[in-house]
């Protein structure tokens, strides 16, 4: 049980797909102009990565290693199509807002990377937790970016006004330059935090 928790936890902080591995950045920057879009995108990725990890893990003994990459891609593309159709049917407005970035989940490096590195070598349950951890790390990263950008850029959160009329929204945060600059500082912040916690661990070990 502890092992599963560790697999799960790893994806959220130490190997956070956005801030530490810097994988699959296109959606992280493109859809995070509002908190709601980030949340939906994050959940979609969480679902796709978990489901794909399970599919890859279940079929890992059936798939010939020389054709594994096309098989992974087909599996991801199928799951993404399912998500697209479901969103189209039940949440058409959000589907429109996410637009092409939803289809682009197919080519997210993080999903193929987890299939290749983890799910193709492990049993179903650990693979599921790996997918959940990485997916949650990704979703939380997106949500964090979305909250900051919407709050500074529009003064709202999930469309509800948070900051009063005294606040003059800094539109740049919703536009593309703000996204790049914000993520730059976030990457640096994460680096500092990880370095610091490693230092603390080292000092404790020495004492």
């Amino acid at each position: 049980m502890k092992e599963l928790w560790n697999i799960f936890k790893k994806g959220i902080i130490e190997e956070n797909p956005i801030f530490v591995l810097a994988l699959s950045l296109c959606p992280a920057l493109a859809v995070t102009s509002s908190a709601l879009n980030s949340l939906v995108m994050g959940l979609a990725v969480l679902f796709v990565i978990t489901a794909n990890n399970m599919v890859v893990s279940v079929t890992r003994k059936l798939v010939n290693p020389t054709v594994r990459v096309p098989v992974y891609i087909t599996s991801v593309a199928t799951i993404v199509t399912v998500v697209q159709l479901v969103l189209q049917a039940y949440l058409p407005a959000l589907n429109k807002a996410l637009g092409i970035y939803l289809a682009l989940i197919v080519v997210f490096a993080i999903i193929l990377a987890r299939a290749e590195v983890f799910a193709s070598k492990n049993k179903v349950i650990p693979s599921m937790f790996d997918g959940l951890g990485m997916g949650c790390g990704f979703a939380l990263g997106l949500l964090l970016l979305g909250i900051i950008r919407e709050l500074i850029g529009a003064g709202t959160l999930f469309g509800i006004k948070i900051l009063g009329s005294w606040y003059n929204p800094a539109l740049i945060m919703v536009l593309s330059p703000g996204a790049f600059i914000l993520i730059g500082y976030m990457v640096a912040g994460f680096k500092m935090w990880i370095n610091h916690s490693e230092k603390v661990k080292l000092e404790r070990g020495e004492m």
């Binding site: 959606p27 493109a30 096309p70 891609i73 593309a77 197919v106 790049f180 600059i181 990457v187 640096a188």
Partner: protein, 193 residues
């Protein structure tokens, strides 16, 4: 003629795929460390994207649409483009070894890249004609090349700068891209899309 020039200009500067639509960021940050490599990958992306857009257009309009299979677009396009790039790599390796030595390594890198995958999808979504799709792809590729060459030149200068430790590497690269995006924002509104 003017119509095609508008599409080109719109995709190169006004709606630059990298800096305003955030596509192709993985290679944008990964390869922009040296100027030579960035020119190579820019050319590779442009040519692959143009060819695969044309191919995808044909498959969509002659196979998927007549048989009502448009819900399979995502699956078909990703497999089509990935296998097309593989084929292209084999052909170039056999018939143009010099070219292969220059661009070959980048071809595999872009086989399943978001910018190469998104242009055909956007073309289909916007109902572009065959020629419009091809010109859009050329514009998107040239825009990508412009952005990555600018970025590589900036990063080469950056090597001499004194950057705070946590910002080194990716952090400062993002902020640099932000500044670049800010400059490109100046073009917005010049062409009605």
């Amino acid at each position: 003629m003017g119509h095609y020039l508008t599409i080109l200009a719109s995709n190169i500067v006004v709606n630059n795929f990298v800096l305003t639509r955030f596509l192709g960021l993985c290679i944008f940050f990964g390869v922009s460390k040296s100027l030579n490599a960035s020119i190579g990958i820019g050319m590779a992306v442009t040519s692959v994207m143009t060819l695969s857009s044309m191919l995808a257009w044909a498959v969509y309009h002659f196979v998927l649409a007549p048989f009502n299979l448009t819900f399979l677009t995502t699956v078909v396009f990703v497999l089509l483009i990935a296998s097309f790039v593989q084929l292209l790599e084999m052909i170039i390796k056999k018939h143009a070894p010099t070219l292969y030595n220059m661009w070959g390594i980048y071809l595999l890198l872009i086989a399943t890249n978001c910018i190469v995958f998104s242009v055909p999808l956007l073309n289909v979504e916007n109902n572009n004609s065959f020629l419009d799709s091809a010109v859009t792809a050329v514009g998107a590729g040239l825009g990508f090349t412009l952005a990555i060459v600018l970025m590589a030149s900036l990063r080469e200068k950056l090597r001499l700068a004194d950057v705070p430790k946590p910002l080194q590497g990716l952090g400062v690269a993002f902020i640099l891209a932000g500044m670049l995006a800010l400059a490109f924002l100046g073009f917005s509104g010049m062409i009605p899309v």
